[in-house]
Amino acid sequence: MIGLRVQAEDFNLAAEVDRLRAGRADIGAIVTFTGLVRDMADGAPLTAMTLEHYPGMVERQLAAICAEAEARWPLQGGTVIHRFGRLTPGDQIVLVATASAHRQAAFEAAMFIMDWLKTRAPFWKLEERGGDRHWVDARTSDDAAARRWRDPSAPGITRR
């Protein structure tokens, strides 16, 4: 029920939310997360960021993450879009949108999807700063954010 796309093209937040809402009036809450390329991540100005991905495994991992979100929260729909290729500061990277009757489910499912996507979806970021290029290191804070959803008391667990 959560639509997945991995694409080079940009996406349109409004169009995606309209698609979730179209023709129905049972949705009480829509949460969206948009990730953007920052110009000053960690110091020197960023010229560009290139997203590399592992075709095939990416779709498989995103589908598994979304299936788990749907099992844990009563969602009425959702969308996950992740771009690849060369992006510049201000560009959109990722969209997660979740729809539910209740706000807590929509919020938690969107956070869950983002946290797991950060640690389980095979994408890699290459930053360019002027002439320098370097691969972004994984953050331990991302691992910690993903791990907390495994806790037996984590949101969504009891709703299985």
Partner: protein
């Protein structure tokens, strides 16, 4: 066996993929990294610090003890940084 490399692993090896037939003594991911590491200076450098590597066997995250003998596609890459 189809091997895929991503991000700086790909760059250090200088290849994004290669098709290889490891010997029968290569039974786990750890064995495979040992064996691959002897193929070139780039392979050796890419695989020097295993704490910085992640491996997927047939598109599923694996660890050093995961069997590889029947695998069709093995990908080796740094920890992921999408989102």
């Amino acid at each position: 066996m189809h091997l895929l490399y991503f991000a700086w692993v790909r760059e250090r090896i200088g290849l994004d993929a290669e098709a290889l037939a490891p010997p029968a003594t290569v039974t786990t991911v750890a064995d495979l990294l040992d064996w691959l590491g002897r193929r070139s200076a780039g392979h050796a450098e890419a695989f020097a610090d295993r704490t910085r590597l992640r491996v997927a066997v047939d598109q599923i995250f694996a660890d050093m003890s995961t069997p590889v003998a029947s695998a069709r596609e093995i990908a080796i890459f740094p920890p992921v940084t999408g989102g």
